[in-house]
Amino acid sequence: VREVTVNHIDGSTEAARFRLLYDLGCAFASRLQLDDVVDVVIVKCREVLGAEAASILLLDAERNELYFPYTAEVDPEVAARLREIRFPADRGIAGAVVKSGEPVCVADVATDTRFYSGVDRRTGAHTRNLLCAPLRSQRGTIGVIEVMNRRGGTFSDDDLAFLDALAGTIAVAIENARMYAQLKEQVVVLERAVREHNELLALRRELDIARSIQQSIVPRRFPERPDVEIFADMLPAQEVGGDFYDFFFIDVERLGVVIGDVSGKGVPAALFMAVTRTLLRSTALSGASPAECLARVNALLIPENTEQLFVTIFYGILNVRTGALDYSNGGHNPPYLLRADGTVEMLARTAGTVLGMLEDVRFNGGTAALDHGDGLFLYTDGITEAMDPAGRLFTDSRLRSALARTKDATPERLIQSIIDEVQRYTDTAAQNDDVTALAVRIGTPQKPRHSSVEASVTITLRNDLAELEGVSDEVEAFGQTHQVPARAVFDVNLCLDEVLTNIISYAYDDGAAHEIIVRLSVNEGSPATQSSRELRIEIEDDGRAFNPLAVEQPELSGPAEERPIGGLGLRLVRKLMTGLEYRRSDGKNVLLMHRVVAQ
């Protein structure tokens, strides 16, 4: 017991009693452990009252039992037995006091019918007389304090009054200690909950960010062309790895295909992947050879690489007309060449290694020849290193035989069946890496789409909204003829609708008929000028001068009440078109819209 100041009590004098009460108050107010103070207090209480024993009985409200957490028995064996004892809360004098809340003085327990002899039987003690006072708290009686067997006589009413006063102080102390412990427990639980919640949120946010970077990078729309079919898919792992794929037409007949895998996971890997993909695409569209591209991207990545990540990349250029494949491999799993007859060949390895770590790496090029009906299968090690529940790898050989079984499958069916097979293999095991694959197949030979680089159509309409339907039909037909992706046709139609509706509704004050001219053309683009395939839409009207590009952009955030009703059409045009130019010449408004369509 540390420094309990209730130990200089010497006798049963009035002064000693007050001293005990006073010291008790001080002790409870100090930061001593409740148990230590109570233990000393009941010993002193026994001494002051000249008794043989004193105990505190507390009520276990859940079980409706009384038990002895504190006792001042002289005999240690009796004390030990007492601590084991629990009895029903409605038994004995203690039970009666708990119920009534009034202190009692019993001069002879043998004549008191409330007396419960069970405790004496179990401890071997012999109770003759006793004092019992309730421990009253704000929440009711929480137990009693009992003092037994006055040495050489019986207890007085003064003794009872003293015990009652003492009981009041002890009850408050016990109740405070209980509430404090409960509060501390709640605070700990609450703190832990808040911490776990925050950690979870941070983790989830990080995962979401990484995943959305990855998902926004890889193209999800696949061109529909008779001369080549492309399909790709990616199953991101729970903790996003750094896989990506890409494809794009460098010109009318040369298709670039890319697959890569960044070391590491999470947001840093996703960002590195985004940078790599952008660098590679921009280098590739300049028309450089695959080996040259990888060397340039490697040089560009090194200064960006603060996280010491690296990336493996396979980049191939497939001429879909001739079937010639040029490629270079920067440390990636060699893709497979899928012959139309079902043969599976691994593309020959070429000199080169991972990108982003070492300067002056030499990348060599490789070539292969594909025939019509032949295909390519690019993949990441998430496939070959997928594990079954027993931890065994999927392996190259399993992939190879799976590929051999998919003879004649379209790229989409091929990818689906491989991914299905990997998932069946993984079964209940966790997918711990991204699973990514891209497949290409050369279709039937085709005449060049158009001998000229540019094809165009001119549509003339009157200033009447009813004319718009015809315009939309013409654009659809043009898109079909020139294999413009459906999305681009939709966007161009919407923007034409917006611009023409504006002109028809606001450009004329004279109520007369006017002609509006729409020229639609597709420019195939060329690597020499670093241009992509694009649609050009020129709209000419002789209405009042109006430059749509000079119109201020509407506020598009904030509550509905603050959104302007107008200006939405121009907003759409600005967002959906790649570029806009306006000029006023010869009394006419000419608006030129561009829309890049190459993937």
Partner: protein, 122 residues
């Protein structure tokens, strides 16, 4: 006029006090007025909860977006609500571009929208 009607078709239903307007076809400068009259008329008559079922809506231009914005503004002043449901991909894209995803409740199905609106207010 006949061409107008063949291009847009509006069907009205009512479920648990919520008006469901299924808009099919094209919502552009020529057809938006029909929806505007219908919608604003109902709001003025005291209707407060709307679901626009866009499953068969193939096309929407700014003229159509304008009607939706007018409706949401009117409803805001009477604590009403309007949700868009079952948007086709290209329409959802347009909705996002103009930032309407932040002022409309958007649900993948009409049922989902109805459930959401049923619990919002009475």
């Amino acid at each position: 006029v006949s061409s107008q009607e063949s291009r847009t078709h509006i069907t009205e239903n009512r479920e648990k006090g919520i008006v469901v307007l299924a808009v099919a076809g094209r919502l552009d400068a020529r057809t938006a007025a029909a929806l505007e009259q219908r919608l604003i008329g109902m709001i003025d008559a005291g209707e407060k909860r709307f679901v626009i079922d866009c499953a068969k809506l193939d096309y929407v231009s700014s003229a159509g977006l304008r009607v939706l914005l007018i409706a949401v503004k009117r409803l805001a002043s009477v604590s009403g609500i309007i949700a868009l449901a079952a948007l086709q991909e290209q329409i959802e894209y347009i909705i996002d571009i103009v930032g309407f995803d932040t002022i409309f409740q958007i649900h993948s199905t009409t049922d989902e929208a109805l459930t959401a609106l049923a619990v919002t207010t009475k």
